[in-house]
């Protein structure tokens, strides 16, 4: 990577090469990124952007922190963990400003409400944050945690549900897995974790290297230009979801082309940010970080100001 040869936002000729490391393979969450790329907004901003799928969702924090990669897409919980571990990253904008992770069950399951989780078997994707979500949800809804059986099923959340191997799952996204279930005619119950007691957080955020951002004006410019272009991409998605669905279909190889538009449709409303594209609420971050600290997800407490900033976002 390396965007050191910075030029003006509309700098003639030479585009600044920028690699953005995604959190996962291309999927509907990334619709704004791909729309901005394919519509040429990055080029207009003087950037030659490569959107790179990672080997593991934890790659972006690590590689952005080491400066190997210019920018990354990560999650708010992971960004807080990175901050707590002393990684050199900071969230510079919310790509998906709200939580997507949900408690899910198929219509056939006996779980329809949080209260039904008592005595249920619940699958997670194996992340410690998801375990903590579940603990918090059960506690705040007065469900006996001891009665719930947890299973780590990794990628196989959908399979675990549709086969009836578990009663419910925690970890699926409401704009992806939930849509898939609905498309299969399984009439899913979907409860976003933030509606069941978990403090609100941004599912996907853009992260940058914090120290370089403080010291390198060219990098500051690059981040600003990137977020500006991304903002335009986001706006384009909101304006024309059908076109956005076509764009993402070209890169989301493994998705059913028939269902993908529905997923994009489910995603679009979640991309709206009342405070303006990318804006993040430092207070919300702080309470989320405090919650994580209370749940022992992080050892050292984190100050929101160290891990999040709105300073590089375009004016709304």
């Amino acid at each position: 990577g390396g965007g050191h040869d910075a030029q003006g936002a509309s700098g003639g000729g030479q585009l600044r090469k920028t690699t953005v490391l995604l959190d996962w393979d291309p999927n509907p969450d990334h619709v704004a990124l791909y729309t901005a790329r394919d519509a040429g907004y990055f080029k207009t901003a003087g950037l030659d952007v490569t959107l790179q799928p990672p080997s593991d969702p934890s790659d972006p924090t690590k590689l952005v922190s080491t400066g190997k990669i210019d920018l990354g897409i990560s999650y708010e919980p992971e960004t807080v963990i990175a901050g707590s571990q002393g990684l050199d990253v900071i969230a510079v904008g919310a790509l998906v400003p709200t939580a997507l992770t949900s408690v899910m069950a198929t219509g056939k399951s006996r779980v329809h409400t949080i209260a039904d989780l008592a005595g249920a078997k619940v699958a997670t994707a194996g992340l410690a944050t998801q375990d903590a979500f579940l603990t918090t949800i059960l506690a705040s809804n007065h469900v006996d945690g001891g009665s719930v059986t947890k299973v780590d099923v990794g990628q196989d959340l959908l399979a675990a549900m549709v086969t009836g191997n578990v009663d419910a799952t925690l970890g699926g996204f409401r704009n992806v897995e939930a849509v898939q279930l609905a498309a299969e005619g399984l009439d899913p119950t979907v409860i976003p974790v933030t509606e069941a007691g978990v403090p609100d957080y941004a599912e996907l955020v853009v992260i940058a290297q914090a120290s370089r951002l403080r010291s390198d004006p060219a990098y500051q410019r690059l981040v600003r230009d990137f977020l500006g272009a991304l903002s335009r991409g986001n706006a384009a998605v909101l304006a024309d979801p059908a076109a956005a669905a076509r764009t993402i279909a070209t890169v989301a190889d493994g998705y059913d082309p028939a269902i993908l538009p529905k997923m994009v449709d489910a995603t679009v409303p979640l991309l709206r940010n009342a405070a303006g594209f990318g804006r993040q609420d430092a207070a919300a971050w702080q309470s989320f970080a405090d919650w994580m600290s209370a749940e022992h997800l992080i050892d050292k407490p984190v100050k929101a100001a160290d891990v999040v900033t709105n300073a590089y976002l375009p004016a709304s």
Partner: protein
């Protein structure tokens, strides 16, 4: 008058397509029937017809380019694995100290999961073709090393002694006795590696890729696009089987002395 027994390995190596085809058709038919009769949902176990449909349907848009990408990784990675495996096996064979010092590390190298290696490779090489080749090579060199070493150390010592009385240097003994004698073992290792190469490429693509059959599968699996997943698997299997058959054909050509019409009157 009675037919003389033909070579075993040669026989099932390349020419005999009959039985596997029969079994293929039989399994596909039974499977199709089972999914239809039992009403198994497509997203759990797609019927062969659905897989075939996905194979055709998604070929142009998705599978063709993915297959090409993966095939490149498989072939190049396998080639590197063969070279590295032979080199390492020979080095360990020639130095007893190296063997006892490094062997545990080779075994250890097979226990480090891809999720751990992949980011490290990404840091060093970026998200290019290189880390995929390295992963394929890493997963495929090991059977070659183990099998070749076992073959080399199982050589009849009397042959070595005989050569030593005939001006046989360490090198000429290796070249004219040990290596030919170890060829069957080497091919056991190659066959195993060939079978693993395509899975290894899928792992490689898990290390950050934007195309390839592994990439397609990684997206399709969580989405229960089972027909597409099975189509990708069918392509991967075909690659491995093809590589396996190729290796076996090469063996038949090179190690004919060990297998063809061994039956003599003595």
């Amino acid at each position: 008058m009675t037919p003389r027994p033909t070579s075993r390995r040669g026989a099932w190596g390349v020419r005999r397509w009959g039985p596997p085809t029969v079994v293929l058709v039989a399994i596909a038919a039974a499977w199709e029937l089972a999914t239809a009769v039992l009403g198994v949902e497509d997203y759990i176990l797609p019927a062969p017809s659905a897989v075939a449909h996905a194979l055709v349907d998604r070929w142009d848009s998705t599978l063709a380019s993915a297959t090409w990408v993966t095939l490149t990784e498989v072939v190049a990675g396998f080639a590197i694995a063969v070279g590295a495996g032979l080199l390492i096996a020979c080095a360990l064979h020639f130095s007893r100290t190296a063997r006892s010092a490094l062997y545990p590390w080779l075994i250890g190298s097979q226990t480090v999961p891809v999720v751990v290696i992949a980011p490290v490779l990404a840091i060093i090489f970026g998200y290019s073709l290189t880390p995929k080749l390295i992963l394929v090579a890493l997963l495929c060199f090991f059977p070659i090393v183990v099998a070749t070493l076992d073959g080399l150390s199982a050589v009849d010592d009397d042959l070595r002694r005989m050569m030593r009385t005939l001006y046989g240097t360490r090198w000429s003994i290796f070249w004219r006795v040990e290596l030919p004698a170890a060829l069957p073992s080497l091919f056991t290792g190659l066959r195993l590696s060939a079978a693993y190469a395509s899975t290894a490429a899928v792992f490689g693509e898990y290390s950050g890729s934007s195309d390839g059959l592994g990439h397609v599968m990684r997206q399709a699996v969580p989405q229960l696009q089972s027909a597409l997943v099975f189509a990708a698997i069918a392509l991967l299997s075909a690659m491995s089987v093809a590589l396996f058959v190729l290796v076996t054909a090469l063996e038949t050509a090179l190690v004919g002395w060990a297998h063809e019409g061994k039956s003599t009157n003595r």
